[in-house]
């Protein structure tokens, strides 16, 4: 792999984003689980539910701090490493990020302090309201971020402006109600719920095996398995799949995920497993099930799902149309810089082909002026629109397999908690503990499918990744990658240790009605009692 600035910038973004997403889904899911627990506390008045809220709240707090810290990095990095991207699409992409801050993150960050510090200062219902506000805000946060990401996958409601040389918004509603964004939101949030449920389930299972904190563990298990079962169903049923047929790159992504090298007569077969070979455009040792793909993908017997070969051919045609748009734009810009009127023929050509301008930019890595491209370069650029098939094929299959595993896990424990049977089954409890890391694997693979599947585009069909970067030196970015890795590793180790420590320590069993949570507990012993 060539260590050019684009590769390094992508590497840094991938590292920091995947790291950020270690913390985010757990925050999303745990906030809701905690709010449910506190609701039960307020409704029943049983102090065990308050202890549960505080205990899982402690773990939530450790995790939340890291989510916030690493989230700032994401917001800054668009400008730092992807300045041409920021200029090119900031008019659209910036808005959901800003609204996320206004509507969600502010609420979340303001009330999370009160969640930890407000037990003594708020009434029961007052505190419960705060907890729910944190949970709702956290989920809204995810909504706006995924609206931003959904637009990258399927850029709707926008048009290129030849005066400002960037994309500008035409319909805010289209951006917000983008079908890809909505599908992504449901999928991602549900995945967060599953992750938090598996987390709570696994830790509770450990307590049950050790015969510790039984009251807390049993109840937590019931909450986690019922919530987790609903969430696991939602992840699968309302999965990302619904978004795959909406956009062009989404189609290519689907074809790559399924390693559909050639278009098959409808309904297409489904490749369960095999070894994709991108160079020869074939899948070795493939196990196929006839008709299934066509039925799932189109819900019909005669609609065609396009294979990679068709999609590449279509993209080659778009590159040629994009070159017409590129040429027209050059003429328009030249006239405008000289403050002369733009000739109508150029304007007409741009109006017709402008939507394919981005396809001409696919040639930029090969030569400065795409209009001088040779036939071979155009064919190569079209071929570049195929993402890494093997990566997508495997990531997707592992993710889906894990999704079904979580469904089985949750269903089993839901049944066991209904029949109060889990304590007699240590093997199952051990299995639940082993499952704790798996949701993270599934979530990270999900993002790899989403983002690697969109390559070579950063904005589908609009802006190739290879032109979106900032002109920084390779050493500068190498330096910051090294620093991020060092800093993030140290913090991850600390976070991990603190989590383990808090879990080992378990809930603090206090009988008083107004015991504070989290902040002082550890060092209370150091401090003399109230002199009065």
């Amino acid at each position: 792999m060539d260590l050019d600035i684009v590769t390094l910038s992508r590497l840094q973004f991938a590292l920091t984003a995947l790291y950020h997403f270690i913390f985010v889904p757990l925050t999303i899911g745990l906030s809701v689980i905690i709010a449910i627990m506190e609701t039960v506390y307020v409704m029943t008045g049983k102090s065990i539910w308050r202890d549960m809220t505080k205990f899982w709240g402690t773990l939530f707090g450790i995790n939340f701090a890291m989510g916030v810290a690493t989230g700032v990095v994401m917001e800054f990095q668009f400008g730092m490493n992807w300045s041409y991207y920021s200029h090119y699409v900031g008019d659209i992409f910036g808005a959901p990020l800003a609204i996320e801050g206004l509507m969600a993150f502010f609420l979340e960050a303001t009330f999370v302090g009160l969640f930890f510090f407000g037990w003594q200062r708020l009434s029961k219902v007052g505190h419960l309201t705060v907890t729910w506000l944190v949970a709702i805000a956290t989920n809204f946060s995810a909504l706006w971020i995924l609206i931003a990401n959904g637009w990258m996958q399927h850029p709707v409601g926008s048009v290129f402006n030849t005066d400002t040389m960037r994309m500008e918004i035409t319909s805010f509603a289209d951006v917000v109600f983008n079908p890809v964004a909505q599908a992504k939101f449901v999928h991602t949030v549900s995945a967060g719920y599953v992750m938090a449920s598996v987390f709570v389930l696994g830790i509770s299972a450990w307590y049950l095996l050790k015969s510790r904190h039984l009251q807390l563990a049993r109840r937590s298990m019931t909450v986690a398995s019922s919530f987790g079962l609903a969430a696991a169903l939602s992840v699968i049923v309302l999965g990302d799949e619904s978004g795959y047929l909406s956009g062009e790159t989404q189609k290519m992504k689907l074809a790559a995920i399924e390693a559909m090298w050639q278009t098959e007569p409808a309904p297409a077969s489904f490749t369960v497993i095999g070894i994709p070979d991108q160079a020869q455009a074939t899948t070795h040792y493939g196990v196929h099930i006839p008709m299934v793909m066509g039925l799932i993908g189109t819900r019909s017997f005669d609609a065609v799902i396009h294979g990679i070969d068709d999609l590449v051919a279509a993209n080659e045609a778009r590159i040629r149309e994009g070159l017409v748009a590129y040429d027209a734009l050059e003429h328009i810009r030249a006239a405008k810089l000289k403050q002369q009127p733009v000739r109508q023929e150029h304007q007409d050509r741009f109006d017709t082909y402008g939507q394919y301008l981005g396809y001409a930019l696919l040639l930029k890595p090969y030569l400065d002026d795409p209009r001088d491209a040779t036939e071979a370069q155009i064919r190569q650029a079209a071929q570049d629109t195929v993402p890494s098939v093997a990566t997508l094929f495997w990531s997707f299959r592992i993710m889906v397999g894990l999704g079904f595993l979580f469904l089985i896990l949750m269903a089993t424990f839901f049944y066991l908690s209904m029949t109060r049977g889990f304590e007699r089954r240590p093997a199952l409890l051990k299995f639940a503990i082993c499952c704790v890391p798996l949701p993270w694997l599934a979530a990270e693979l999900g993002w790899i499918v989403a983002e690697m599947g969109r390559q070579p585009w950063v904005i589908d069909g609009v802006l190739p990744t290879a032109v979106a970067y900032s002109d920084l030196s390779v050493t500068t970015v190498l330096f910051t990658i090294a620093c991020f890795v060092a800093l993030y590793t140290v913090l991850l180790i600390i976070e991990f240790k603190l989590m383990i420590k808090a879990i080992r320590k378990g809930p603090s069993v206090d009988t008083s009605a107004h015991a504070p949570v989290l902040v002082p507990r550890l060092s209370q012993r150091l401090i003399p009692g109230d002199p009065s």
Binding site: A109, A513, Q524
Partner: protein, 402 residues
């Protein structure tokens, strides 16, 4: 959609220029006191109890305060994409150092109390001190460089950004002076906050540091003004000013001129009130601390920060980021904004949510009002209602505490 034409493009640009100022101002005032509190932590609090008291003065609110910066980043991205793209990539390494501080800070707040060992805690205390200092310095240095102009150029055809500066280039004497102003004013703000929220020895020490920082803020800020007058050339638009044209910075010409940064004062002499507020607020904050009027000191300190920031806007308007190597590419209020429609949509969103944010933030501050005492850490204490402050209690605390 024609709704957005209700407000003119140039009016929207002015509104968004002001809104960014308000958001960054809110950040400087609120996060200013917790950055300052972090910087002062090892100096005003010596024992572990004292340190926990000081940390808990900002514990419930620092997270919300920091969101102003995140909101500022998002708002600049949405309303001023060109400014966001040029400044964040241009100041790349400075931004990275800022990020490193912003990553460590929340973690330090949350993790400090999770282990009892002295070494663990003093390390995180040091981290809080440094990560308070670094952002304050960087923000000040950035302001200094905006006044000097930043070495970037735009490719006229594609508007691709090229940057010719280095990290060390940002650290010139004038920018460093501005950085020190930033540090001094945030220490002043943090000290006033600690004075409001604590009692006893910590309160005494905070007042002492606060008075020193107030004097330094006045001196350094005045020195900065003199340096700006004597040594720094300002920028001015030399072509016809089009206020509602497309956002393309390459359609105007710009030149540097002596004292151009003082032109807005000449045109609108009343704007001299803002530097006066910056200086006077700091002086009054120091005097209030001397007179044991802590809350008044916090008010004046906040006013001083507001004055200094507004003055930055007055001096540079309509420039947002001048270019030192290709002045024509300078980003101004008239050519670096989002589209008319985006500015309008974002204004609607802001008009709905910003007042809400103000309301619930104030509510949280009200819930958490009152002095932070070591007895607040008690496990089985009674439900505590906010108590009025009083120095009688402080004396009690001094004599009774071990």
């Amino acid at each position: 959609m024609i709704l957005h034409t209700m407000i003119d493009y140039d009016t929207l640009r002015i509104i968004w220029w002001a809104l960014i100022g308000i958001i960054l101002g809110a950040y400087a005032i609120t996060d200013g006191f917790d950055l300052g509190t972090g910087m002062l932590l090892p100096f005003v609090a010596k024992t572990d109890t004292e340190r926990r008291i000081v940390i808990n003065t900002v514990g419930p609110v620092w997270e919300g305060n920091q969101v102003w910066l995140i909101l500022g980043g998002g708002a600049i991205f949405a309303a001023w994409p060109a400014l966001y793209a040029v400044s964040f990539s241009g100041f790349y390494l400075a931004m990275f150092i800022l990020l490193a501080a912003l990553i460590v800070r929340p973690v330090a707040f949350k993790y400090r109390s999770k282990e009892e060992s002295h070494r663990w805690r003093s390390r995180w205390d040091a981290a809080l001190c440094i990560t308070g200092f670094v952002p304050a310095l960087i923000f000040g240095v950035a302001m200094g460089n905006v006044l000097l102009g930043v070495p970037f150029r735009l490719e006229p055809q594609t508007l691709r950004i090229f940057y010719d500066g280095t990290l060390l280039g940002l650290l010139n004497p004038f920018a460093l002076l501005c950085g020190l102003v930033g540090v001094a004013m945030m220490v002043m703000q943090g000290a006033s906050w600690i004075a409001v929220k604590t009692e006893g020895l910590v309160w005494e020490r905070a007042r002492y540091y606060g008075m020193a920082a107030a004097v330094l803020t006045v001196l350094l800020y005045a020195l900065g003004g003199v340096a700006l007058w004597l040594f720094v050339d300002g920028y001015q638009i030399t072509s016809a000013v089009v206020t509602d044209g497309p956002s393309n910075p390459m359609m105007k010409t710009v030149a540097t001129a002596t004292a151009a940064w003082f032109a807005n004062y000449q045109a609108h002499p009343w704007t001299l009130a803002f530097p006066a507020l910056g200086l006077g607020g700091a002086a009054l904050a120091g005097l209030s601390l001397l007179a044991h009027k802590d809350k008044l000191a916090f008010f004046f300190s906040s006013a001083s920060i507001a004055g200094i920031l507004i003055n930055m806007g007055v001096v540079t308007f309509p420039f947002m980021l001048p270019s030192s190597i290709d002045p024509n590419a300078s980003l101004t209020v008239w050519d670096a904004s989002s589209s008319h429609f985006t500015l309008f949509t974002m204004l609607v969103a802001t008009a709905i949510f910003l007042p809400l944010i103000m309301v619930y933030t104030l509510w949280v501050y009200r819930v958490m009002t009152g002095k932070v005492r070591h007895t607040d850490f008690n496990d089985h204490g009674p439900l505590r209602k906010p108590r009025p402050s009083g120095r009688g209690q402080a004396r009690q605390f001094l004599t009774r505490a071990p």
